[in-house]
Symmetry: C2
Amino acid sequence: MGTVQFVLLADDPSTFITRVVPFIDIELAGIPGDRHYGLLRPADSRQKIYKRGTPIANRRQISIVSEEECALIAEKMNIPEVRPEWLGANMLVRGIDQLTELPAGTRLLFPDGTGLICEGENLPCLHPGKVIEQVYEQDGLRKKFVPAARKKRGIVCSVEREGVIHTGDTIEVIRLS
Amino acid sequence: MGTVQFVLLADDPSTFITRVVPFIDIELAGIPGDRHYGLLRPADSRQKIYKRGTPIANRRQISIVSEEECALIAEKMNIPEVRPEWLGANMLVRGIDQLTELPAGTRLLFPDGTGLICEGENLPCLHPGKVIEQVYEQDGLRKKFVPAARKKRGIVCSVEREGVIHTGDTIEVIRLS
């Protein structure tokens, strides 16, 4: 059983950085107003089996990171903290062991019945490293992010059951075979 | 590399039995006109984590069986053949080894760029057994279906990239991670 520490939204079109909000609406297409909202999204470098830009099903609607794994990234980078905002996360959770290694297909259930499907590890990219380097004003810090964040950068999820997720909600983790 | 032997459609609302058609349109919500078409569907006995009837994301839009596995089911049931129509399948393929055991997340790619995501084994239920018993007019035959079809009854897929699938198309099988 985990807990939702914060829910966050990327509703400023100029950046992927998220901001803390009291709750997030969960629709089949994701979180309304968030930059990852949509039933379809253009294929990118992660989906090399499709031509770049091809509209494909959006299975990266919601990203989740854990307090425990963010602390481990910070430790490896030798900095005081790594905040979920800087990773563009929509949710910070506590109490889910090795969140990033949850198998694809794992279900996350919330108190009002909202259900998310884990689509697997959110592979670390370069952007959060740049944000962290700016925050700490420490040249070269950006390069430490990707190696430090491997298997700790959280997961991406798609929506199975619509609803609302609040700060403080419990999370039931259901691993399917 | 596999081949599409037949594509089929369940467009008679009175039955799950499918009929052979020359091609099927693939939309994000499935095959238009098919009984499993839809972005949402009501949770059933397979999704015990939701109250029965709750609208959830439809990840069982397209069902695929293989010629080789249908032959094995027929052999085990001691009957001449098991046709994809009787299983309510939307596609009969040839040349994909142990189709039913493809891991969830495997991608199936078709010549025009259409992409399906394997959502896992289609667990055998009682209905096809009844159809087979009627076809062969052999009392009690229905009971043989579920044990004979375990791990041979094919897979269910959701849609990643829209397009059209024709009889005779090749299928590229891409296993992720």
